[in-house]
């Protein structure tokens, strides 16, 4: 199909060049217009003149004018003198609207950021994030202390529903996951232990590993995925929606009003969920012991009771308290650090989950090593 416009390169008498533009120029035909403009402009060299002669233009829309103005700017940057000429008053106004009569500024080349620079910036960003989390912990401790002095200043009303959402609602998933982890671990252990005739010691392994490590850790991971992400998204949305600012202006600090109720709720429900996870994990091991190792339930449970000391269970619960604090701290900090719109909320929610998981694993490893060094 023949385009509704035409472009013609003409050399005028005084050695100047012109691109004579005529017809109807619209965005619908912008692709052929663009390629033709590029072709005609390519031959012009520094010092030459190549004007855009507009007397034959019947109609032009903004998209087409943008392309013509772009060509003129590009020619000028290359040192080619180029202007819109012979445009009537109406066309002149459109040329002006699209900056076709402006002096073209020289483009500044952007210096690319080197790999080392990027690495340095990323490291500084991680360190700064760590600093912010620690500062947030400090604020939380100060607010917590304030809460002890004046308990009525806390937002206790949010505590029960938050405990219900983070605790009671998580019971089915925590139970199921812990049961399956106990079952899987016991199945793997049974194969190895049976070679040495040590079937009964599966109960020892499962009992200790569930109570000391897997119970608290699996519970924390589930709570992080459910409640941590929810806290971060909820506070993030409140932040971008200026609800947090509104609280501040009303004298209700977000720490006491939003962060402490959520963290306190986690400090209560995560240990309770851990106890549940321990029981479910042991039940998973018991199922394997009875069905696969031909042990009696009584023998399996007696061996578990003999192997697991009260300290094993207590150390697991102590870990769960630390995990609860980490989840509440990181999720709320990330949520309140949200900037931007929906994108910012999504970014901070992802970041909250990733940072929390990393912190959980790191703190678990640290506590395990320290307890081992202390002979506990």
């Amino acid at each position: 199909m023949t385009p509704a416009f035409s472009l013609e390169h003409v050399l005028t008498g005084d050695g100047r060049g012109e691109i004579r533009v005529s017809g109807t120029l619209e965005l619908a035909e912008a692709a052929p217009l663009w390629s033709e403009l590029r072709r005609l402009g390519a031959g012009a060299v520094r010092g030459q003149a190549l004007d855009l002669e507009m007397s034959g233009v019947e109609r032009i829309d903004g998209g087409a004018m943008a392309l013509l103005a772009c060509l003129r700017a590009e020619l000028q940057r290359r040192g080619v003198r180029s202007e819109f000429v012979a445009a009537d008053a109406r066309l002149q106004r459109i040329v002006h609207l699209y900056g076709g009569d402006l002096r073209v500024a020289r483009l500044r080349a952007r210096r690319p950021i080197g790999t080392l620079d990027q690495l340095g910036r990323a490291t500084l960003a991680v360190l700064r994030e760590g600093q912010l989390v620690l500062a947030f912990l400090g604020q939380m401790v100060v607010s917590g202390a304030g809460l002890l002095r004046s308990p009525r200043s806390a937002n206790w009303r949010d505590l029960p529903p938050t405990m219900e959402r983070a605790g009671a609602d998580a019971v089915p998933i925590v139970t199921l996951i812990s049961f399956l982890v106990g079952l899987t671990s016991a199945s793997q252990a049974a194969v190895q232990f049976r070679r040495y005739g040590a079937d009964l010691y599966v109960a020892d392994l499962i009992g200790i590993s569930i109570c000391r490590e897997l119970g608290p850790l699996m519970t924390a991971i589930v709570v992080c995925g459910r409640s941590g992400a929810a806290f971060a998204a909820e506070l993030g949305f409140m932040q971008v929606n200026e609800e947090v600012d509104a609280l501040r202006t009303m004298g209700l600090g977000p720490m006491r009003f939003l962060v402490l109720p959520r963290t306190l709720a986690l400090l209560v429900v995560v240990p309770l969920l851990t106890v549940l996870a321990d029981v479910a994990g042991l039940a998973g091991g018991l199922v394997v012991g009875v069905l696969s190792l031909d042990l009696t339930a009584r023998a399996y449970l007696s061996e578990t009771a003999a192997a697991v000391s009260p300290w094993d269970a207590a150390s697991g619960l102590a870990k769960s308290l630390v995990f609860a604090l980490i989840i509440g701290l990181v999720a709320c900090q990330q949520g309140l650090a949200t900037t931007g719109g929906a994108e910012g909320v999504g970014r901070r929610t992802t970041s909250a989950v990733v940072v929390t998981l990393f912190a959980l694993i790191l703190s678990d490893a640290t506590m395990t090593v320290l307890l081992r060094m202390a002979g506990l």
Partner: protein, 253 residues
């Protein structure tokens, strides 16, 4: 846009009723928007201006009545190149994309232009709205006024003949609002764009409006129509006078 006739109204609403559920905000609204005009839908808060606009652009089904744009219903069953641009009150820019990417989005979707040409058009549109230095910024980093201007650039990306604008000057300082009015008038006069503007900004209404309808919340109907200046100076309806002279709403029995 190719319509039945270039002299026919570009937008035509007949017996339009809008609202949600059992709540009716406007009932039986009938009006026409002429090609090349700036048509203002005005009225107090809660009278259904924005809801009417959503029905006009096909985002919401009207409770009753019909809307045609260039002789066709606004919404199409299958995805098709938009026949008009819409600028939302909040800007509604996609938060994960930069300003330039937001403006380029419709061009990349609906044209076969090479990236270089898309870039040229995007740069021109952003320059047009005074955002040439913000192309790499995310919407979250922009002020409210900048977001609105970026949204206007995006609405114009496909060179529509018709633009719908919801409260374009709300939340802007007087200077920015005046600049936006000048830009809208330029787009109308220089490029021949038809603009349908929903607003209750008096200054803006008088500055850019050439024809208007005024909606009323209590009667749920159009209570005045015509040139805004003529309505301000000549309409005897106390509700219209109260609106144009920022007076308290007249007490009705």
């Amino acid at each position: 846009m190719t319509g039945p006739s270039s002299s026919a109204p570009l937008v035509e609403a007949v017996g339009l009723s809008v609202g949600w559920g059992d709540t009716i905000l406007q009932e039986g609204a009938t009006f026409q928007v002429e090609r090349g005009s700036i048509f203002v839908i005005l009225g107090g808060s809660g009278c259904g201006k924005s809801t009417l606009l959503r029905a006009l652009v096909g985002l919401d089904e009207p409770l009753a009545g019909t809307v045609t744009i260039d002789g066709q219903p606004p919404a199409t069953a299958s995805p098709a190149r938009p026949r008009f641009g819409v600028m939302f009150q909040s800007g509604a820019l996609l938060g994960s994309l930069t300003v330039a990417e937001n403006v380029a989005l419709p061009l990349l979707e609906w044209t076969t232009l090479p990236l270089e040409a898309v870039g040229a058009i995007v740069a021109a549109k952003l320059r047009l709205v005074g955002l040439e230095r913000a192309e790499d910024q995310l919407p979250g980093e922009l002020s409210g006024g900048m977001r609105k201007r970026a949204a206007l650039a995006r609405a114009m990306a496909l060179e529509p003949e018709l633009l719908f604008l919801d409260e374009p000057s709300s939340g802007l300082d007087p200077v920015s609002a005046a600049e936006l009015d000048v830009l809208l008038r330029d787009l109308n006069e220089q490029l021949g764009l038809t603009l349908v503007v929903v607003t209750h900004d008096l200054q803006s209404i008088l500055e850019i409006g050439r024809s208007c309808i005024m909606l009323d919340r209590q009667s749920r109907s159009i209570i005045a129509r015509g040139d805004p200046r003529a309505l301000r100076d000549g309409c005897e309806d106390p509700r219209v006078q109260a609106f144009f002279h920022r007076a308290p709403r007249p007490v009705t029995a």
